[in-house]
Symmetry: D2
Subunit: 388 residues, 4 copies
């Protein structure tokens, strides 16, 4: 059978888990990665049945992630996994990533990186003192038109950025009945999800997206997080006013109780020369606006200026690519990063457009800053990157 160049092990993602299956598709899509080992569930039988379903050698399906790292480390260079992907609930991200790196494996982690900023800082220290690579799947940065937007702003086509509006609205947690689902349960449980539900789950994607595209960094915020559905201890909705390092203002809206919304992540950035607009649910369109001039509809595959965007596409214009391809783009770039590392080059995430531990730190800080700011009746709070 055919062999991909990179071997992956997976922690979490047993049959029925949404995000594990998505990661597997993303890893497979471009034929660069083989999933060859895993510890898919804390229940060994369930883990084995997942391995069987996936055609993985039973000997490389492990009861625990500790076993996996220990045994894989013993294998020959051309056999053992190159990296591990972590797709468990949030509270396990840190201990698994930590042990993986201590065992010498590169890590690709679902977001958020850790349960809190303290863990993220500890993980950063560990990564920086190791020879291991670390990537974080901020999926939405994988979309070609997001990359095109980033490129055009970096090229100055919008001029100075003056206002940002980013929104991530969902309705899937709109009712108490919705809490029964497995995806809902752990996200609403502070022991597994951390101090926030909505901001930690989706608000952080919005914050990451806005910084990625605009090239700006949040430097202060005013937060109003809400617990809309009775009985919830974590936020299920929130608005965060932002101030960026260039002085411009932004608004971030996030909600899981916006009944009827699917996965409505959208971004608008207004500059003094031009503006742009992008929406995840129609990801192949990027709107460019001008002052007193017609609007331009830039479409995936047509006259893109950014090499990163062009490389992120697999099909000609008019053949819609979507979420899974955006996700796969993160995998492609992470694979290139590993290969460059294998080739002995000095590498960093930024070169290969892979979200890394710095993004993780900013994301965890965003969650903690927003939750703290929301609890106070002072309006503006300096965005702090240190643990509190």
């Amino acid at each position: 059978m055919n062999k991909a160049r990179i071997r992956m092990g997976m922690i979490g993602g047993a049959e029925g888990a949404f995000i594990g299956a998505v990661h597997r598709i993303a890893a497979r899509l471009d034929g660069l990665i083989d999933l060859v080992a895993g510890s898919f569930s804390s229940d060994p039988a369930r883990s084995q049945s997942t391995a069987t379903m996936l055609g993985i050698d039973p000997a490389r399906c492990y009861d625990t992630y500790q076993d996996m790292f220990q045994e894989e480390a013993k294998l020959a260079d051309n056999q053992r996994i190159d990296f591990v992907v972590i797709v468990t609930p949030n509270h396990l991200h840190f201990p698994i990533a930590k042990l993986a790196i201590e065992s010498g494996f590169h890590v690709l982690s679902d977001k958020p990186a850790t349960l809190n900023l303290q863990e993220a800082r500890a993980l950063q220290t560990l990564i920086n003192s190791s020879d291991c690579l670390y990537g974080l799947t901020h999926t939405y940065t994988g979309y070609p038109m997001v990359k095109e937007a980033r490129y055009r702003i970096a090229q100055g086509q919008l001029g100075a950025i003056r206002k940002v509006v980013v929104e991530y609205s969902q309705g899937w947690l709109a009712t108490q009945e919705d809490e029964a689902g497995k995806q809902a349960q752990w996200r609403l449980d502070a022991t597994k999800a951390g101090i926030s539900c909505c901001i930690a789950d989706i608000g952080v994607h919005a914050a990451n997206l806005v910084e990625y595209v605009s090239g700006l960094a949040i430097e202060a915020l005013c937060a109003d997080l809400n617990h809309v559905v009775p009985g919830r201890t974590l936020d299920d909705d929130g608005t965060v006013l932002l101030r960026f390092d260039n002085g411009c203002k932004g608004v971030l809206l996030a909600s899981q109780i916006a009944l009827g919304e699917e996965n409505n992540l959208n971004l608008r950035i207004y500059g003094d020369k031009g503006s742009l607009e992008w929406s995840q649910m129609e990801p192949n369109s990027l709107w460019l606006k001008s002052h007193n001039a017609p609007t331009t509809l830039l479409r995936a595959g047509v006259a893109l200026q950014s090499e990163a965007a062009r490389n992120a596409l697999r099909t000609p214009a008019g053949h819609p690519e979507g979420y899974l391809e955006a996700f796969a783009n993160i995998y492609v770039n992470f694979t290139k990063l590993i290969e460059a590392k294998k080739a002995g080059r000095a590498v960093n995430n930024h070169q290969f457009d892979v979200p890394g531990i710095e993004d993780a730190i900013r994301g965890m800080a965003f969650i903690e800053n927003a939750v703290e700011a929301s609890s106070k009746n002072t309006k503006w709070h300096t965005f702090k990157l240190d643990e509190r």
Copy 2:
């Protein structure tokens, strides 16, 4: 020639003034009103040339509004104007309205009603002690689908309202060059526009729309108003977090520096049973969303439930009506209000769906509350309806 049932006089709106021309079209559209008198400009010659252009009897074109009220009052019942419409810059709204009412004329005023809340309170006292009617052209409440949205919420079709997002974004003041225009000049001049530009000009429309449709009243707010273009003394952008009297939260975004935006007023209301979405730039569509069910696109002229919406339409489905027709709907309803009054019935604005002095008070209060709240570093402020 044909005689409409109601006679109107106009203050302001000389040739070249945008909003005066709009009011005249709106007044004409349904053939209910004749414009028979006016004082169109502080420059008598310019006023006369406007009168000539409009085919108005030169004898009823007055040098000043004071003259107009004095002379018109002397005319016979079946000759003199029934009401006066005020379309001057903001700072003249109050003195004109005051004198009109003191002279016994009904008043329809462009918004904002006055320059500040104090004047609005004084005007309210005057109106309440008079026999005159007062209407305020909050145009966007004139759209049929806005009325349908309001009806459906009032009927409980969305359940309890839990989140509101309303936005009014424009780009026409995005640059310093844009300040040369006549429309821009007075809006950016505190002596003519009052304490705010963006919130007073458009934010107040958004606040009015959200209260009109939702049936909720703002009870607290957190405001962040910005002066984006260098050299401006009044806000040209802002975000206001809202809390309503049922405890639900809202976000109001307003901007005049959102480069590339035309007149992007849009509204989303999320309930615990359903949600809705409306946008002024595609005004004949109303989106109704449900939980785990398909979305409904309700279109002007198709299966509307609200009599108010049906009455506000002139053409069958698929024949787009727009801004001028929405504006005309305010005139139609104000005309009906006057006729009911003439017929000796006890009337109030609410019965005829005409925005009135209470809306004016709330609007002026919104402006003052937002400006004050923005100046403080306390997050939440109680919405006060009294002068400060």
Copy 3:
């Protein structure tokens, strides 16, 4: 009261008639025309009650159109009507227009101009030998973005035109139950509507629009008209393949049984340098497409190149204008045509962008050619402008 510069009489359009009310709004909207006389119904009582509703002098409400022309002709120059608008069912268009012209009145006619091509030819002869003006309300040519499209093609911005797709789909006659309505009854009755329902009522608008915008003339066609709902003797659906005088091909789709469609008139024109797309239900947008380049969204009020388009707008960008304003634009231009005539200038419809008798001839010929071509099993038929 104010006097408009032009006086209009109306034939047809009693209370409750759809198109009569639309014409009145269109005539009123810009304050250029006074409706001062009428014969609104073949039932004199109904005609008088309409006159009363409209505030028209009872003495100028006539029992018959013959009376109206006779009596109005006796009035002084500055009293009598300048033109007559005809808004009756189709079969009366010709006799009324004929008598009006013979009586010396300009005519503005709802379309189709006559019941058949023979009548249209007779009318043309009459007009050409008279001093009267004749206009036809092909409403959709009144939209600003339609004028902009026409201008850009005339300027060569699309290069050589190579393909055209025009569609006019409605669903209002989709069922037998729909035949009960007054609008439906006469349109499905050959004695009142002529030899066609769908093509005569809406197909002809599509044909007119495509010739108006493209500047091309239909020179051959292949038609397939259908009688979809059982029991109908006239077509309620049809497709017509077109060949234009430059050799390019087109497709015209028309339907009244396209269940769920409102008033879906849309047009696409493909050239060898660029393409464009316009849809009546979002009339303020015009899409311009290029080869291997981004698409441009041109919006009403933003950077329009055509003076005709700019003049056809009343409000700034983002304030949607619609069907009634497009209709009013025909009236505005017809008014200018009359005034130029009054001023003693040699004028023709084309100068003032008013559809005239030549358009009427082409429209009637389109209906007759399409019906005849549909009855044959030969594919292509030369488009004949002569009576058969």
Copy 4:
């Protein structure tokens, strides 16, 4: 490494070929198929470099497809390929498919199945007398919302179908310069593409889609194919009027010179109870229209009624899936068909929703009927399924 359940060999699809890469992604996406053998190019060196790129065992990269079938047939049951996918230019589809079946391998073929109807009939005979499965990648039937549309029509939700409009417009061959590309060259060469370019390449997809969704069969047609760009011997544009076996009419538009269009395949079906609309470029939306009732927007992942549609989705609502996933759905279903066959069950394509040789026959017949009908000046032609 992990082993998928089904082994695939590929003919054609060397590096740089568009459709070969798409097939590989589609085959990989769900982890059910391993690509283990291939003959990727008529140039053995190019074939080997493709094999190396793909991680395929060099011993199983064959110089010719004849070699491949001969050698693979010698391998053990659990080693040799289960099926072959054919992604060469059109003229090789038939000889390869023939030899594959004669060698005992199941075949999945890119469309069109063969160069002409005669070959397709020969292939049908061969398949029917063999034990081999045959699938044809009519990609667009793989979209979830297409399956939902089909289901709802089959359930009678639209009532009797009365009109169909299907369009497939592209602009990529709009100019002579566009003919230089490799994709263009063979499509415009009758020796490789057959008797048609536009109809054979994309018109046939449209015809297949409309029959798949509506459940109707074309029984007569009127065709007008065009050679728009000078110098072309094959059609690059065309319109085909359709009559279906229930008597209803349809219009099929196809173009490769519709400058500015990307891959605009869209479908509307009008019934006497309801209508629907779908567009490939926004594939996750299906519009359902009703008579005098609001329109429904059905979205992928929300309240789908069809099991086939639900099974064709991998992610929750709001996570857009696209062209590659639709393609992969054909592979998934073909895999299930093979597995059922392996399990000894009597199977046919229809059970597993895999386009098969009957669809291939209808497709080839569509091309030949359209080309012949276009050459005649008789309007309607009976749709013939036999070779001429």
